[in-house]
């Protein structure tokens, strides 16, 4: 049963990939029909690596994360495979996945205020993770929690630990959630829009904190975000999603300096940049993402794409343009420059 128990933690040496997602599909049954939120998605992560999945809201990035954790809403279903050190998470029973959650894969969410239980003290909410997975005594667990809270820069944790979430600011709540996720030193931390709900100044603190912790604990992070600023400082690889599909995936530098998909390029142009003072232009992407209920045939981005041509009425396949750089576009991106 406890194949993922902490005694067998050093699974990284087995040589298997940390996470391998194959042909992942997430489908929601709604009153108006089936909605395919994620469509045939493939990607993989090496141990210690940080992958950022980037896209607009509704692109399926959050559903990808939830599918991996088996936390989809009741009307959602995940198909395909998501292998964690070789074992398919999607096929696990409730007991098996609960051994993985919190211990090997932790997750932090977008809105820290609603993600903490308002009726329990911070202490109770943190202790239960260690008591559940490490069978620690209350006393030992408490020491570990205090240590962890210090790591995420919560001042006066001895006192703070007895407080309720509403007594914390939003940024502190997110720190608590990060600390909570790292308590068992998971191999993978899934962070779903960890900075979106926060004030800009606080966003920076959280970004810095995550960078520090990543170095310190050597945790792999699957970062779900639409904020390319977060990606730049944190990610090793970037995967861009559009309408439930991969459109481009490459090492972070390639994405930033040599984007090949028109959508990626448009995303980059849409980011306001402080280093270009003066007559810089921000270019929002015209139009809206397509309705997932009835996707048009062909490339889903073609209505908003400046470079679309006849061939785009057919769906382009994903191809590897250069090693490590996958692209779903008939063009190879040279025209973008």
């Amino acid at each position: 049963m406890r194949k993922f128990g902490y005694k067998t933690r050093s699974m990284a040496v087995t040589g298997k990939k940390l996470l391998e997602v194959e042909q992942l599909e997430v489908v929601f049954e709604t009153r108006d029909g089936e909605v395919k939120a994620v469509n045939k998605l493939d990607f993989s992560m090496q141990s210690g690596e940080t992958l950022a999945i980037v896209g607009e809201s509704g692109s399926g990035k959050s559903q990808t994360a939830l599918a991996i954790m088996k936390l989809l809403a009741a009307n959602g279903e995940a198909r395909g495979a998501a292998r964690f050190y070789g074992r398919n998470l999607l096929e696990m029973t409730a007991t098996e996945i609960n051994e993985v959650r919190g211990e090997h894969i932790a997750m932090i969410f977008q809105d820290p205020t609603s993600s903490l239980n308002p009726y329990m003290t911070i202490e109770e909410q943190m202790l239960e993770v260690l008591m559940r997975h490490r069978k620690m005594s209350r006393k030992d667990a408490r020491l570990r929690v205090l240590e962890m809270l210090t790591q995420v820069d919560i001042p006066d944790p001895q006192r703070r630990i007895r407080q309720y979430p509403h007594e914390y600011s939003g940024g502190m709540q997110q720190r608590v959630l990060i600390a909570m996720g790292l308590l068992c030193q998971p191999e993978l931390l899934i962070a779903d829009e960890p900075t979106t709900a926060l004030d800009v100044t606080v966003q920076d603190q959280i970004k810095r904190l995550m960078r520090e912790l990543k170095e310190k604990f050597n945790t792999s992070i699957l970062l779900i975000t639409h904020d390319l600023g977060v990606v730049a400082g944190l990610a090793d690889k970037v995967l861009v999603m559009y309408a439930g599909q991969l459109v481009e995936s490459a090492p972070v530098d390639e994405i930033f300096y040599r984007p090949r998909h028109p959508y990626t390029a448009a995303l980059l142009k849409a980011v306001p940049r402080l280093d270009q003072v003066g007559d810089y232009d921000m270019h929002p992407i015209p139009g809206n993402p397509p309705n997932l209920l009835n996707l048009p045939k062909g490339c889903p981005f073609r209505n908003r794409c400046e470079m679309a041509f006849d061939a785009c009425k057919q769906m382009p396949q994903v191809r590897e343009v250069v090693p490590g750089h996958r692209l779903r576009c008939f063009l190879d991106g040279d025209a973008l420059k």
Binding site: M69, L71, A74, A94, T95, I97, N98, E99, V100, R101, G102, E103, A106, M107, F109, D111, S114, S115, L116, N117, P118, Y119, M120, T121, E128, V129, R132, H133, Y164, H166, E167, L177, M180
Partner: protein, 306 residues
């Protein structure tokens, strides 16, 4: 927390005063006095009786006299049961009403919370639809319909339990308690189901699941308390419902509780008795509401840490 409690308590007094005032004046403007039914009384005796009960004084004076009495917890003599004071009648009836009411309250709370939770966990399942269908029955069928039917089947046809009367004996309590508890159970079950479903959809439950806690632990540790809050708030109205129901139940099962006295008193224009019961139950509801507020605040950190 102390501050909050005192503030809530402070509100109980104007409420109680209003209750007493309305009851007092409503009764006094009523046409017909308590001794009208005894037609053969000579006028001088009638006058003496009125004087004895201060019915000849100006209304305002009577009102303040009555307030003074109430402050000493004295509801005065009963007009109808000549040898009894209202206090004695209440003291006699209350233990009976209380035991049935408390049992019914306990039963409906545990059963309602249990059924509601089960239905929520099996949302839109056969079990859920079945349980909620039953709950709807419990709400829709008045207890004065259920009680006679139960008596007809269980007592008259099968002869398992007594059809009424009162002794301190569980056999006499089963049917009254069940009929009294039924609608409240149904309400609580529906309330609990709704709030549990809502809580289970909240973000912090997703966090709890992401920690690897078992579904049972998630519900027990994380979902139960917030889901119970609406049920706790309902306990005040639930008590009022129970008391109202007890009037009917005590009549049907011939139970000598306060409800029976009240109905008798109302029919006979027994002013002091009726007012005594209204004020007594009113005070009970107010007190209970106060306790419910305290429990609610205690369960909800966002209130008690203010």
């Amino acid at each position: 927390m102390l501050n909050y409690s005192l503030r809530r308590l402070a509100w109980a007094f104007p409420t109680l005063l209003l209750l007493i005032t309305v009851a007092f004046f409503m009764i006094r403007v009523a046409p017909g006095g308590p001794f009208d039914s005894e037609k053969n009384l000579p006028p001088e005796i009638q006058q003496n009786l009125n004087a004895k009960y201060h019915l000849d004084e100006p209304l305002v004076q009577q009102y303040f006299r009555y307030l003074g009495q109430i402050l000493r917890f004295d509801f005065g003599p009963s007009f109808q049961y000549r040898d009894w004071t209202v206090n004695q009648l209440i003291a006699r009836g209350f233990p009976v009403s209380l035991s049935i009411g408390a049992l019914a309250m306990l039963l409906s709370f545990t059963l309602g919370v249990g059924i509601g939770t089960m239905a929520a966990l099996r949302q839109n399942n056969v079990l859920d639809h079945g349980l909620m269908g039953f709950a709807m029955l419990g709400i829709s069928i008045p207890n004065f319909v259920i009680a006679p039917l139960l008596i007809l089947v269980i007592s008259v046809y099968w002869g398992w339990l007594p059809s009424g009367g009162w002794e301190w004996n569980w056999r006499n309590m089963v049917l009254p308690v069940i009929t009294l508890a039924m609608p409240i159970t149904a309400y609580i079950a529906r309330l609990m189901r709704g709030s549990m479903i809502e809580v289970l959809h909240s973000d912090f439950i997703r966090t709890a699941r992401a920690k690897g806690l078992s579904e049972f632990t998630v519900i027990r540790r994380h979902a139960m308390k917030p889901a119970l809050l609406p049920v706790i708030s309902f306990m005040g109205p639930a008590l009022a419902g129970l008391i109202t129901g007890s009037v009917v139940i005590e009549k049907i099962f011939a139970i000598p509780g306060i409800g029976s006295f009240f109905v008798q008193g109302a029919m006979n224009r027994d002013y002091t008795l009726v007012m005594g019961v209204v004020i007594f139950y009113g005070a009970l509801i107010i007190l209970f509401n106060f306790l419910v507020d305290l429990i609610y605040a205690w369960l909800n950190p966002r209130i008690h840490y203010k």
